[in-house]
Amino acid sequence: MTPLANWYTDAAGYRKLGLRADDLIPEESETVELALKRLSPKEAYDRVFRLRRAFQCSLSHQLLPKEEQTKPEEDILYLTPIIKEIEAGKKEREDLESMVIKRRAA
């Protein structure tokens, strides 16, 4: 399946605009907002740079030159682990909140 997946991701076209997969995650949720806050300053800066470059390309109906496009090995998940961590935290809180305490039979 992997070759097919590679072809599909490439065909999705975001790499041609210099973006990474995690740049496409919708920002309009509390979880993602918090995750974005937890990025290191360097990562946050790079993310904004990629987005602005992609906007420019999109407005001018151009693709980035081949060497500036995101290479498959650069397309790493930098935001997903943080989102997962936050979601795990939320789930734990919900679980603990709806917990039923049973007294152990002595």
Partner: protein, 457 residues
């Protein structure tokens, strides 16, 4: 595993066979409730098995502000207590503790960081595991540092900046000991610490602070056998000092001097003299300083009476100055502090009395009755401190780490009783001959210099 019931049975039996160990209802406080000490997995432990239903457990680490490697890391490490660890989240720690009806806290002093838990007796294993995990496996994540630790630190700094009392106390320590004990308990201004204080710095400090020879586990109301068993189990993978860099623990040296800080919201003055080290660490312990502190006094222990102490007699109430003399002792040094708080003019008038009072003690002009009252008060204070569990646990732990004896109060009381009038006079004379550490915070136009109130700096 030895079952709990059989241990209880054993200890109960032993008590019954040795009636000399028990204290009758009307007997004087004799300090029979001694801490038993031991070692588990290379960590020093102490416990006293009182038969109450609750236990107080403390992990004492010799890593207070005195030993910190960068400004503010001891404070930061304390604030990171009970945050996410590699095994569970801070939320889970909170909820589990709530379910068990426990109470967890952390604080730091100039010498120690203390993680403390209070809980029902049967939950000992859970809380020993918790403290082991908090000290050894905290993750020190960046987002917790920015979202939870830093805001608390900043709030604390802001409160401290408005409190002349705390500023004067810190400043007196700074003047007296320079580095080491002189480092302020909390960083006062956010600017310099922001450069040093990062989650990585705190994480690094924790690996140095929580090593086997640097911590002690102390419990009040737990069986030593059980404590030793669980400590052995949960603390066994702690690093010994081999890998970690040792903390700088040069012996404290007293310098003395003067510092004046201009401040708009109140006036405080601390006049400090070299004191005595704590009883637990032996050789520089001087009980006469504690008596001198009681004799100088300033605050009455009896309602509607100014009390017998020299300063409360010399300083009239209408000056509007609160005077109190405390003796703070550390493992290898101490500080006898006279703190004056109130209006600037009142402090100016009152501060002159401090040197005069010391001179009258040195000249032997104080009545014998006053001295015997001071001895009684000093003894009472020492024995009362014994019963305050939090203080006692920290002192016991710190005593164990420094390789001394655990804090045994009846011996302290004995040594206070044996001080003679001449010894007290000589101590006062020595203090006056040496340099004082004076700090004035507030309206510097009015507050006096040390020279003006007859002290050498």
């Amino acid at each position: 595993m030895i079952s709990r019931s059989s241990i209880r049975h054993l200890t109960f039996k032993r008590c019954r066979y040795q009636p000399a160990n028990r204290r009758g209802l009307a007997a004087a406080a004799s300090g029979n409730f001694k801490f038993q000490t031991g070692e588990a997995a290379g960590i020093k432990i102490a416990s006293r098995d009182l038969s109450g239903p609750t236990t107080t457990l403390a992990l004492v680490a010799k890593a207070g502000t005195r030993y910190q490697t960068l400004p503010g890391v001891a404070d930061g490490l304390e604030k990171f207590a009970y945050k996410n660890t590699q095994k569970r989240s801070s939320l889970r720690i909170t909820r589990e503790t709530e379910l068990l009806g426990g109470e967890i806290s952390a604080y730091h002093s100039r010498e120690n960081i203390v993680l403390q838990a209070k809980f029902l007796r049967d939950d000992l294993p859970y809380f020993v595991e918790l403290l082991a995990e908090v000290a050894g496996k905290t993750k020190f994540t960046g987002h917790e540092f920015h979202e939870e630790v830093i805001p608390v630190l900043t709030l604390h700094q802001r409160r401290l900046l408005t409190s002349t009392r705390d500023l004067a106390h810190d400043s007196a320590h700074k003047v007296a000991f320079h580095r080491g004990l002189g480092v302020p308990l909390y960083t006062t201004s956010p600017t310099p610490s922001a450069r040093y204080l990062t989650e990585e710095a705190i994480s690094t400090y924790s690996t140095v602070a929580y090593t086997k020879p640097n911590i002690a586990v102390v419990a009040n109301g737990a069986n030593l056998v059980e404590l030793s068993k669980w400590t052995g189990e949960f603390f066994k993978d702690y690093p010994t000092s081999g890998e970690a860099k040792k903390l700088d623990s040069t012996t404290s040296k007293y310098f003395g001097g003067e510092e004046r800080i201009s401040h708009d919201s109140g006036n405080s003055m601390v006049i400090a003299f070299p004191g005595s080290s704590s009883f637990t660490t032996g050789n520089t312990y001087k009980p006469e300083i504690a008596i001198l502190a009681a004799l100088l006094g300033g605050q009455s222990s009896i309602k509607w009476s100014s009390g017998f102490s020299l300063l409360s007699k010399a300083i009239p109430g209408q000056l509007g100055v609160a005077v109190s003399t405390t003796h703070v002792s550390y493992s290898d040094a101490g500080l006898l502090c006279v703190a004056l708080n109130g209006g600037a003019n009142g402090i100016r008038a009152a501060s002159a009395e401090v040197a005069k009072a010391l001179e009258s003690v040195a000249a032997g002009k104080v009545s014998k009755e006053d001295i015997s009252k001071a001895v009684a008060l000093a003894k009472f204070r020492a024995l009362e401190a014994e019963q305050e569990i939090t203080y006692r646990l920290e002192l016991t732990g710190s005593g164990l780490i420094h390789g001394g004896n655990p804090f045994q109060m009846n011996e302290v009381a004995k040594s206070i009783e044996s001080v003679s009038v001449e010894q007290v006079a000589k101590a006062a004379k020595d203090l006056l001959a040496g340099k004082a550490a004076v700090s004035a915070v507030g309206d510097l136009h009015v507050l006096p210099f040390a020279e003006e109130i007859g002290l050498k700096v």
